[in-house]
Symmetry: C2
Subunit: 156 residues, 2 copies
């Protein structure tokens, strides 16, 4: 992977903002011909800069307005404990992100749910049943101040 030039970074910035903009408009915005622009996008895709394209659904509109951050500590960090736990996490439908952490807890999860009742359901049916868990600490988000799917490109 070689460096991204300013045009590449502009393309990434614009498509992060609107993943459905037409190639013609994109080409216009970065001062390229449509074919040259499309070739750059394909190259960025092929070189692994792009994980995909997604519709962003409004969590609240589809009944999951509440975000809960859950710190989880395992009984051990042996390979099998970790594998079993992570497998369970990945298959939990309402886990929107999971990170192996430094610090007190081993994992941090973000869960989207239908209020405290919705969280109780997830806690009872998923979290408390996950293998190897020794401690669960939940913190509710009272409000989302900001949420960005895009990564800021340098110098843009």
């Amino acid at each position: 992977m070689n460096e991204l030039d300013i045009t590449d970074r502009k393309i990434l910035t614009l498509l992060q903002r609107d993943g459905r903009m037409s190639n013609a408009d994109l080409a216009d915005a970065v001062n390229l011909s449509p074919s040259a622009c499309l070739r750059r996008v394909k190259r960025l895709e092929d070189d692994g800069y792009i994980d995909g394209y997604a519709m962003l659904v409004n969590q609240a509109a589809v009944g999951k307005p509440t975000n809960v951050f859950v710190e989880i500590t395992l009984r051990s960090l042996s390979e099998e404990t970790v594998d079993a736990f992570e497998h369970a996490v990945i298959n939990c439908p309402d886990v929107r992100g999971c990170y192996l952490m430094s610090g007190d807890a081993d994992y941090l999860l973000r869960i989207a749910c239908a209020g405290p009742e919705g969280y109780e359901h997830i806690h009872r049916n998923y979290l408390s049943r996950m293998p190897g868990v020794s401690r669960i600490r939940s913190s509710f988000a009272l409000r989302t101040v900001c949420k960005k799917t895009g990564v800021k490109m340098a110098d843009i």
Copy 2:
């Protein structure tokens, strides 16, 4: 906003997975004519179910492989302190998410950066300069176990 039927939920699920799939293919997948399918998508957009469409950039590929979760406590939660702080957060380019929290700390931020050195830069130039901050506690993610942009629809 009335209920979403099974077809609406299928549409949302498919477009969350691939925000650029053609309307023709989408219509085919949900057994509708292209025009009927497009009408549904437009209705979902107009009714606020959809926040937008985005290209998902690979954080690591563009030089920001590291996620840091930052708990921030303010000196007070007066309206002006909160407003000034949140304004600063929203304008910090590497903050990928910020939530007002219950629990010990007032805010939880996720930051994407170029390793510990990158985080030090953000800490020095942004976080430590944010107004009203009394305490900052940073936890580094060692690995991303999973990350989902999509919301799970019921019964699909």
